[in-house]
Amino acid sequence: MAPISRGFHGRRSETTEAERVPPGQYVTRDFPVLSAGPTPHNPIESWSFEIRGEIDEPRSWTWEQFIALPSERITVDIHCVTKWSKLDTSWTGVSFDTLLDGVDTSAEYVLAFCDGGYTTNLPLEDISDGKAWVAYEFQGEPLDPEHGGPARLLVPHLYFWKSAKWVRGIELRQDDLPGFWENYGYHNYGDPWKEQRYAGD
């Protein structure tokens, strides 16, 4: 039991919300921005999304091809390791089940790579079976560059640094290679419900 902070009363969420908020998080109505470097601005003509690594024939889509893929509207709660959670965010994107359909791979992990050099690692099963998307619209509008546009990962069951901004593809891997924040002391997996913020949590 943590010691009492003298004179602290706090501001609790509504009960209905509280059940949806993982430990140590608070609900915000804003959409804060966190990035390790400048926001990239590249012409959409040069954009592509790639699947490479442990795959017989790497896959690649141009922007036009990508947005022509079957898409889904997803409404989910998102949880940032910096403590904010945002409820009922709605996105449009392509499920990894669509992108990986028919792929035969021995890979167990993926490393997502992005414009600007950011990377993040995930078990392959965490982007399978309707758990992850490449999203390009937020609340019905094209995704702002500062929020990761033109497209970002959306992996809402993990802390939001796993939902990499400006994503350009994934590498299918047999071994688990820690990504950017995972190399700087953040948890390798990042389950908000287990409060896996930092290495060792």
């Binding site: 943590a2 902070s5 602290f8 706090g10 959409f31 804060p32 390790a36 400048p38 926001t39 290495a199």
Partner: protein, 241 residues
């Protein structure tokens, strides 16, 4: 990309408040005696956890304002009027209280001498806090790495660490006030001000930008437009969009 090995578990620990100093009307520096503190790098932050009598808890992150070699661990906290934790830290907390924290956290927005320079620090509002830790560290180790600071505040009364930041090649600009007898700059940190005060891109400065999102976006974009290498620009953002 450089790697740091922060692999030990970050346990919650109690730190004793030794002093609370008002920096401005809404910002205080809290000096802590953290006996179990493992040490930190300039630019890192901590998580603070408050617990109410019924067990309800709230956590937030705050930048460390002190240099690694300083006697006390210091957090500088700005009161957000609609905040849950910052009003407690700035209005209620007093010397003798214990504060629960864990850290240090974040290994990218840090400066240590082995990273070299020259360094350019650009802070907006309380975004100057981790930059102040870097400058204190730079001074404490008598580093010869050239350092410049560009610091933007709303008004003169909002300036943090007055009197401490002047020894560097410091440019201070005020965005909401044009006081009499002011020998600094006024207006936002824009393309023109950065062209004048930043190191030329050819010197490949290592740049640290910290502040509210709008500030960081504008400064980082201007620096890239001026020809600075995006991979040499490290950002830390806070506050609502």
């Amino acid at each position: 990309m450089e790697r740091t090995a922060v692999r030990r578990r970050l346990n919650w620990q109690l730190a004793r408040v030794v002093e609370v100093v008002a920096e401005t009307s809404r910002t205080k520096s809290i000096a802590l005696d953290a006996t179990d503190w493992p040490g930190h790098l300039a630019g890192q932050h901590v998580d603070v956890r408050l617990t109410a009598e019924d067990g309800y808890q709230a956590q937030r992150s705050y930048s460390i304002a002190s240099a690694p070699g300083d006697e006390h661990l210091v957090l500088t906290v700005e009161r957000l009027d609609d905040g849950e934790v910052s009003p407690y830290l700035t209005e209620e907390l007093r010397p003798g209280d214990d504060l629960e924290l864990r850290g240090p956290i974040g290994g990218y927005f840090v400066w240590r001498e082995s990273l070299g320079g020259p360094i350019l620090l650009v802070g907006g509002g309380s975004g100057v806090v981790p930059l102040r830790a870097m400058l204190r560290h730079h001074r404490a180790i008598a580093s010869e790495v050239p350092a410049r600071l560009v610091y933007s505040a709303r008004t003169r009364d909002d300036l943090l660490y007055r009197g401490e930041l002047g020894g560097y090649e410091t440019t201070i600009t005020l965005t909401r006030e044009r006081p009499e007898h002011w020998d600094g700059r006024t207006g936002r940190v824009d393309h023109g001000l950065l062209a004048e005060t930043a190191w030329p891109p050819g010197e490949r400065p290592l740049v640290y930008v910290c502040g509210p999102t709008g500030f960081v976006e504008a400064v980082a974009e201007a620096l890239v437009a001026l020809g600075h290498d995006a991979n040499r620009i490290r950002t830390e953002r806070f506050g609502p969009t």
